[in-house]
Symmetry: D2
Subunit: 336 residues, 4 copies
Amino acid sequence: MTIQRFFSDNAARVHPRVMEAIAAANHPDTAYDGDALSAKLDDAFSDLFETRCTALWITTGTAANSIALAHYARPWQGVICHEEAHIEVDECGAPAMYSGGAKLILAGGEGAKLSPETITEKCGQIRADVHQVQPSVVSITNASEYGLAWRPAEVAAAGEACRAHRLKLHMDGARFANAVAFTDASPADVTWRAGVAALSFGFVKNGGMNAEALVFFGDQDLSGVRELRKRGGHLMSKGRFAAAQLLAMLEDELWLANARAANAGAALIAQAAGERLMHPVEANELFVRLSADEAASLRAQGFDFYDWGSGAARLVTSWDQDAAAVAPLADALRAL
Amino acid sequence: MTIQRFFSDNAARVHPRVMEAIAAANHPDTAYDGDALSAKLDDAFSDLFETRCTALWITTGTAANSIALAHYARPWQGVICHEEAHIEVDECGAPAMYSGGAKLILAGGEGAKLSPETITEKCGQIRADVHQVQPSVVSITNASEYGLAWRPAEVAAAGEACRAHRLKLHMDGARFANAVAFTDASPADVTWRAGVAALSFGFVKNGGMNAEALVFFGDQDLSGVRELRKRGGHLMSKGRFAAAQLLAMLEDELWLANARAANAGAALIAQAAGERLMHPVEANELFVRLSADEAASLRAQGFDFYDWGSGAARLVTSWDQDAAAVAPLADALRAL
Amino acid sequence: MTIQRFFSDNAARVHPRVMEAIAAANHPDTAYDGDALSAKLDDAFSDLFETRCTALWITTGTAANSIALAHYARPWQGVICHEEAHIEVDECGAPAMYSGGAKLILAGGEGAKLSPETITEKCGQIRADVHQVQPSVVSITNASEYGLAWRPAEVAAAGEACRAHRLKLHMDGARFANAVAFTDASPADVTWRAGVAALSFGFVKNGGMNAEALVFFGDQDLSGVRELRKRGGHLMSKGRFAAAQLLAMLEDELWLANARAANAGAALIAQAAGERLMHPVEANELFVRLSADEAASLRAQGFDFYDWGSGAARLVTSWDQDAAAVAPLADALRAL
Amino acid sequence: MTIQRFFSDNAARVHPRVMEAIAAANHPDTAYDGDALSAKLDDAFSDLFETRCTALWITTGTAANSIALAHYARPWQGVICHEEAHIEVDECGAPAMYSGGAKLILAGGEGAKLSPETITEKCGQIRADVHQVQPSVVSITNASEYGLAWRPAEVAAAGEACRAHRLKLHMDGARFANAVAFTDASPADVTWRAGVAALSFGFVKNGGMNAEALVFFGDQDLSGVRELRKRGGHLMSKGRFAAAQLLAMLEDELWLANARAANAGAALIAQAAGERLMHPVEANELFVRLSADEAASLRAQGFDFYDWGSGAARLVTSWDQDAAAVAPLADALRAL
C-alpha cells in the first residue's frame, strides 16, 4: 500500500520545471548573488507586483522573516504578531537572534489573524515610556496559520492601523500563493497597495526546493538587509541555483497553478469533511475533527497526517495533490 | 573567446554525480532532517572519520562555523582565531550574531596559520579577570586562507595547546578536502585524533551545490546545536536535497577525487609561476606576484581572476580545472 | 500643603542608617568588588539564609534579574514567567539583551502568581523539538506584582514543578522583604529550601539608595555571573558604597523593620479601603477601586498616587510611611 | 606605616562636596529620572559645553560607552577603535552586548591614540561589500589609555576623517577632566566643535561616587538611547542621587579643580621619574620603567601601584593626591 501523505506541503516533491531550471543553471557564473539569474529577480518580482521591488533569495521562510523583522526593529524594539504566528511558535527565537533581541509582542485573533482593532488596541496598551518595549513593526501571516486568506481590504485596514502608529507592516507569506489563488486578488492589491512594506514570499511549500523570496516594495532604505542575509550565513556561493528556482516559479505563473492545484485538493477534502471542519478552508490546510478511531481508520487505509491535539487532525495538500489525487481521501472521509 | 575563470572554486559547476543525487532525491519524504537520506549522515561521516560522528547539513560555511562557535562560546566568552581567518574577515560578524555577542580574539601567524605558540601566548596575555573576555574555543582554518594545509602533527600541537588552556578546537574546513588531498593524511588524524572537536567540512567549493557538513566528533554534549541551526533559519524543509549532496560527495571518495583534480591544476600553474609565488601552493589557491601589465595581458588572453592588492593576483582552481584544463594558463604565465 | 506621595516605594528616602554606612565607606580601598565591605557579603547573606551563599551587589533589580536569567538560559532557551511579571512588562527587554536573545514564555495566574500547575501545563504545551523554544528556568516574583506574598509551601510546590522539568527557579524579590515580613517565614524556607536557585533581593525600595543583592544559594557553577555583571556595565569602581548599603540593611534586621513599617502602613490603609480592595493586601501595595471624583478628592487633600486603568488606583507605602504616617490617608479614604 | 595607593583614581575617596550633595538629595522625589535634580542636567551640561546638550547619568563608563556605541551602530555594523582602548580591552565585550553584536574594528597608534590617518587607512582597507563589517562610528579615548590628552586640532582632524567616511565620533572621556585640565582647551573645542557627537564624561575617577554622564551634543535623533539605559538595568529608581553627584562636580568647576590637583601630583612624580617615563605625562597616569628590585623598594617604603608587564609600573594619581601629597613618592623615586 502506498501511503498518501498529508503532513505538510513542505515535504512535497519539487516541481519538474524547477528541477529543470536548477539543472540548466549548472554552469560557472559569478559567486553569491552576482550571477545573471540573481540579477533578474528584481525585475521579475517588479513585474508581478506592478511596482519597483527588491527581491532576495533566501533558503528558508524563517530566515526571510527574521531578516525583514531585524531590518525594521532595533534590538530594543518589538514586533506585534499573533500568538500563534510561525515567528512566535515555530522559529526557535530566530527573530530575536537576527535582531539582537527584539521582542515579539503577542495578540490574539480569530483564525490566527491579527485584526486592525487588535493592532490598535495592543498599541494602546503599551505605555509610551522606556520601561515597556515599543513596537516598530507588525507581522501578519497570509494565509494564516489556520489557512485563512487575507482579502485586500483586510490587509489595507491592518496597514492603516500600522500607519496610524508608525509601524511597518510585514507579511509572512509562506503560503502566499495559496492565499492569492483563493482570493484571486492581484498580488499588488494584497501587499504594497494595502500597506505591506515587505513580504516573505514562500516557494518551497509550493514546488520549490530551497529558495524563498524576500521582497521589499518601493523605494525603501534597505541598508542592513543584505548584511543580515550574509550575517545569517544565507548568502550562498552558488546563488544562481536559488534564483533559478524563483524564476521558474514565476514563469508562466507556475506559482499560481501549483497553488490552485493544492487548493483544489483541499477544497475537495473540505467538501467531504463538512461539519468536521474547524476553520473555513481557503487555502490548502484543513483542520478536521476526527476521533482517534476515525484517524486510525484513515491511516489503515493509507492516508497519513498530523494529529492536532486530541480529537482533531491537520491535513495539508501539496501542489501535486490536486482534486483528482485526493479523491480517495475525500471518499474515505465521507465513508467514516 | 571563452573566459577561463579562476576567481574562486565557490562559483564552479556542481559535479554531475551531485546533480544526479539531487534529482534522485525528488520524492516525498519526511520534512526537515527526518528523511531517510539525512538519517544516513552520521554513519557516513563516522565511517570516513573512524569514530562516532554527529553530522548536520548546513547551507553555508559561514553558518556552519557560527553554529559550532556559538555552541562552544557563551555570549561573554571569546574565540581565538587568526586575524585573517574567514570568520573574522568575511562573515559579516556572523559568529557574534549566532553566539549572542562572543568576541573574536585575533592573533597573527605566517600563512594565516595559528601556531600552538601563538595560542599559548595569546592565552597568557589575557588577564584571568572579568574585565577581559576569556576564550573558550580556538578556530583554525584548513587549508588556511593562503592555501596552506595543516599536517596532523601541527594540528595535534594546536590541540595540545588548547587542552592545556581548556579550550575547544574548531576547524574551518571550507577547503578541508584540498588540504587532505595534499597531505594524504587520514581525515581522522588531522581532526579528532589531533584534538579537533568540530569540523566545518566544506563541499560547496568542491563540487557541491549548497550543502556543507558540520561534524562533531565523539560523544559530546551537543545541546543547542540543532536549535542554533533552526534559529539561524537553516533547518530546510526539504533537507533530503542537502543530505543527498553530502552522501554523493562521500561516495567512492568523490570529495577526494575532486580535490585532487583542483590541486593538480593549481600545482601546474604553480610550477609555471615559479618565483612569482607568494606562498607555497599546497591546495588549490595561488597567490602570484603579477604587475598590472601582466595581469592585463593574461586577461586579454581569456584568463580572469581577482587582483590581490596591487602587484599581485589570487587564482583558485576548481574540481573541473585539473592539470589539463589549466595548461593554457600555465603556458601563458610562463610566456609573460 | 505637603503632598503625601504613595506612588512607589522606589522613590522614597534612603534610611539614615544606610546614609551613615555610605558616609563611613568614604575612604580608599581596592576598586570594584575587591574592597573589605564587598568581601563581607557572602558571609552576611549566608548567615541570613542559613546556607552558603554567593552575593553580588547590583545597582538595579532589572540588572539583577537579567544577570540571573542570562546565567541560567542560553540564547536559544526560554524563561517561563507570569505575563504581568516585571521582567516581561517593565524592563525594556533587558533579559533578552543580557542573555543574547532568550525568550520569555508567558503564562497567566491569579494575582500575578505562577502556580505549579501552570508551570507544569506550560511545559506540557511546548513540543520537545527544535522549532519551539525550550525553557531552562522559571522566574517568580515575591511579593507578586499585585503585592501577594508567597508562602514557603507555595514556593516549594513551584520548585517541585521546576525540578520535574529540569528548570532552575529564580525569584524576583524586589519586595522580598515585604513578603517575608508578612508571612514571617524564614528567608531560607521561602527560597533555597523550597527550590529557589537565585534571588534578586531588593533593597532600594526598602530604604536603600542604589544597591540590590543578587544571591545564589549553595554550590552552583557560577561561571559567567560576574562576567555578566561587568559586561552590563554594573561592576562599579567604588563597589564599597554598594556593599555598605547592603550590610547596613542586614544589620540588626533593618530590612525587616523597614518592611514591617511599610506593611503596617499598607494594612491600615487596607482596613480603611475595605470593599474597595481589588487584591488582598499582604505586602505594601494596594490596588483600590476609586472613581475619578474620589481620586480627585483625595488628591485635593494632599495624597497622590498612580491611577490604575480607569476607576482604580495603585498606592504603595514606603519604609517611612508606617501606620501613624498614613493615618490621615486612611481617614480620608474612609470619609469618601 | 600608611600605604599610599597609586593603583587607580577609580578607587579614591569621594569628594566631600559630592558626599554633601548626595546627603542633600535625600528627600522623596519622582522616581527614575523624573526628579528635580535630573531635570537640571541638560542645562548644566549645555552651559559647560556652550551648546544644547542631552545629558544622562549612568553608573559606569562601561555602560555609558556601550549605550553610545549601541545607539550609533546597528548589530551588523562596526566601531573603529584603538586596539588598546578600554572598550576593547577592559569591558568584557559590553559594546557587543548592548549593540546586539556590533564589532570592534581595531587599529594601532602611538600612545593609544587613533590618528586621522589611521581612521582613513582603516576605512580604506575595508571592502565595501556585505562580507566585511562596515563601520558606522569611531571611538577615541581622551585622555588616552597612556594618559595622553587630545588637543582640539587633533580631535578636529579625527572628526574630519569621520565625516569623510560618514562615521559618528564618540569620545570615551573616563579621564576627560584630566585631559582638559592639561590642555586648557574649552570643553566645546575638544568635543562637538571638533566633530564629537557623544561623550562619556567620567566623574567617578575624579571624585564622584557612582555617576558618569553620557552627553549628546546638539540636535540628534536620540531614539533608543534612554531605552538602552533602561534595558541595561541602568535606570536607577532614585536617580536624584546620581544627578546630585554630577551637579556637584560641575558646580564651581569642581571637576576641573580635582583634575588639576591629580595632574599636579602626576607632574611632580613625572619630574622625579625623568628618563624612566615610557610616555609623556599629560594627565594623571604614569608609566614608569622600574626594575623588580626598585618596585620592591618603593613598596617597602609604603607606596603601592600596579606592575605593568615586567620592568615597569603604572601609577595613577587621584584628586586627593596633589603635588604636596605625592612629594614623598617623588623623593623616593629620585632616591632609587
